[in-house]
């Protein structure tokens, strides 16, 4: 008995392709939450509850300019990105959603450039 090739189940190929691209959105999200947990010295479950609208710079008194600078340096290290002067504006810092969107774009650009941070 033979099995006709056409009748074999078609396996979705997306996961294999995705593995060669930039870290998945969820991985960037998880890393960014880890970094914020370290910077803000919060419990993991509190940071896990951050939504896109959760306020950051200007909403959390401990997140001053030096703390934000440390946050950026750590993001560069752990996400393998470079944050330029011109990237820094009120919008990307104001909410968790803004910062995450920024980080995700930077990660994709970094991988397109072949890892410019190194």
């Amino acid at each position: 008995m033979t099995i006709e090739p056409a009748k074999e189940p078609v396996v979705a190929r997306e996961p294999a392709v995705e593995a060669e691209l930039a870290p998945a959105r969820s991985a960037v999200d998880a890393l960014l939450r880890d970094i914020l947990r370290d910077v803000l010295a919060l419990e993991a479950d509190l940071v896990a509850a951050f939504s896109g609208e959760t306020g950051l710079f200007g909403h959390l008194p401990e997140l001053d300019s030096m703390a934000v600078a440390s946050l950026f340096t750590e993001m560069e290290d752990r996400l393998g990105i470079i944050i330029e002067d011109d990237d820094v504006d009120g919008e990307m810092l104001e909410t968790y959603g803004g910062l995450l969107a920024f980080a995700q774009v930077k990660v994709i650009i970094g991988h397109t450039d072949g890892g410019a941070s190194n």
Binding site: V39, L40, A41, L63, S65, M66, A69, S70, F72, T73
Partner: protein
């Protein structure tokens, strides 16, 4: 000046602290590690560098070369057998002294963080500043970065400073300790488990026959 646990014991550790804003974040943690080492039978010595803490000198006249010489002099003065350098303190560690570099960082990163803090504060105040523009001035005139007056010589040296590659110190990374680095915190904190771990790693290395 220096903070010391000295009972004239055989094992003597020079501790080189984190610098600038990280010095504040890490001070208590650093001393907590020293307390634990004291209980393990190890003397330890935490010098204040010129221009820092209660020093009578001003920070803006200090140089990286001067601080490196001071670290070497402190090692001789306290008859240190080992060194534990923390974060940017790793840039100052005497290469011939055996020991550890905890979460070493580079001068480039130190300067970048400080410059960025200044830039963010300036933008909040409605002034457009660039890291490149401030750096160019800092190399000639020195600069006030996040409240730290840094002279031109110190700034220029820090920009390219790395820990001595030929040193006899092993790296302890944050992954070896567990948890998030205390230097990252927006406000100074402490973590007893991290202090236990760092002290244990150092004590095992110093006390092993």
């Amino acid at each position: 000046m220096a903070l010391v646990f000295d009972r004239q014991r055989e094992h003597r550790l020079l501790v080189l602290p984190a610098l600038f804003h990280e010095a504040n974040n890490m001070r208590r943690h650093t001393v907590e590690v020293m307390r634990r080492l004291d209980l393990s039978g190890i003397d330890s010595f935490l010098p204040d560098f010129s221009g820092c803490n209660e020093s009578l000198q001003s920070l803006d006249t200090q140089t990286l070369v001067g601080w490196r010489a001071a670290a070497l002099a402190a090692a001789a003065y306290f008859r240190a057998t080992h060194v534990l350098a923390i974060r940017a303190g790793c840039l100052l560690a005497p290469p011939a002294l055996p020991g550890w570099r905890y979460a070493p960082t580079t001068g480039t990163k130190v300067v970048r963080s400080l410059l960025r803090a200044r830039m963010i504060a300036a933008r909040e105040a409605g002034q457009a500043e660039s890291i490149e523009g401030v750096s160019a001035i800092a190399r000639i005139e020195g600069v006030d970065l996040a409240g730290w007056p840094i002279g031109a010589a110190m700034f220029s040296a820090l920009e390219n400073a790395v820990a001595n590659a030929d040193s006899r110190q092993a790296a302890i990374d944050q992954d070896d300790i567990g948890g998030g680095g205390l230097w990252l915190r927006a406000e100074p904190g402490e973590d007893a488990e991290q202090a236990d771990m760092l002290a244990a790693l150092v004590a095992m290395g110093m006390l092993e026959p």
